[in-house]
Chain length 260, copies 2
Amino acid sequence: MNQVTVVGIGPGGRDQMTIKAWQTLEQSEVIVGYTVYVELIKELLPEKEYRTTPMRREEDRCRMAFEEARKGRRVAMVCSGDGGVYGMSGLMLTLGTEYPDISVEMVPGVTAALAGGALLGAPLVHDFAVISLSDLLTPWETIEKRLRCAAMADFAICIYNPASKKRADYLYRACMILLETVEPERLCGLVYQIGREKEQWEVLTLNELKDRAADMFTTVFIGNSHTKEIGGKMVTPRGYGAEKGDEHGTILPAAAGLSL
Amino acid sequence: MNQVTVVGIGPGGRDQMTIKAWQTLEQSEVIVGYTVYVELIKELLPEKEYRTTPMRREEDRCRMAFEEARKGRRVAMVCSGDGGVYGMSGLMLTLGTEYPDISVEMVPGVTAALAGGALLGAPLVHDFAVISLSDLLTPWETIEKRLRCAAMADFAICIYNPASKKRADYLYRACMILLETVEPERLCGLVYQIGREKEQWEVLTLNELKDRAADMFTTVFIGNSHTKEIGGKMVTPRGYGAEKGDEHGTILPAAAGLSL
């Protein structure tokens, strides 16, 4: 049976791909993806055939992959991070019903929450929520509700797509919603251009975060009520003895004021 | 400066590690970890020196790693999945303040939410929450609150540690809490032994899920109100045109009844 493999390539460089992702790309004849990510792969595997579509042409991109597979070619659809987190896995499976002769397989990858978390320290070691601020496909009210519920649950939060040119103030808006219930000193983190040359990260307070510039290559982390700064890093404790503050600072009372 | 590297090894097999994770292990002299995960690595790299501690001896395990690094040896601390998701990253950074001569670096990996999601289809393509049911280090009331908030937010949910011998009915209890507000037909997924020989997955309803047996090698997925079954897979739409149901079924009204 012909097949398209959806490959999560991680944050960018070859060494942050899984071995299986790399092997799948090496064995592919055609690599399909969003222009920016395809450029990253092209540098590593220049001899492949590449097909790209710009942003907002995701459906065309999927159909392109299925059409190539139908010709009997080995096709990889690349996604940054993981194809299953704001990636193309869902759309590929949905459109796949129109191509019953082609199977869709997934190769998972390191999504920005994990790659960015590793740079900042350990912000997501305990329960967390992942929320995209893009309202291209999601009503803004749904995004607001999710931010409020996540704060109420005392989840650590990882925010994808915090801003774009057209949505320059969305990170500010999200921070203002969180500040309704979360203290301004809450520890946060910001990672720019994960895994790329211009990679940068910063640990800061929620109050500082609200005035930071962000773009579509920024990933944002909001700590939970226990998150603390240790040696310049952002650390959410899991509750082990040594984390309880014997000699390393004090943990706040658990999820203060939560009631449902 | 001496260094310990916290390496997320993904779900198990070598091909689901990142290239960087594999290189780090290859270049290590001592590999420290929980017994079960160390056994997986030992098969691949039998010539290394291994140090293990059982569950609940996490602090000893970390100190073991720091002591080896202090001797000038190259040390890797391995975690299943990603060290930053219910892993050792946080405890390593916390205890690291006692070993200021040793730096702690993180190599992220594919956590069970991503590896299990890829098997089930695309359950986490939109906003989601990750919740552990283990109350060893977290009060059960906090876990209950997080389940309720996640359902209220209409997050897709990924559940880690759904049960153990001592907590045999925890998955049932969690499902009963979700059933207070979520319809019994809500699409769910269950993955056993991700990345291992006995790997198995199942797509089922929340009502069916509540009576399933689970253990510490099980990962559970609860869809959001839009999640549907497509070709036997679990798919959470992101909102693209083709997913809106023109010819592929109908999406439920967005996050019905949510108000805060």
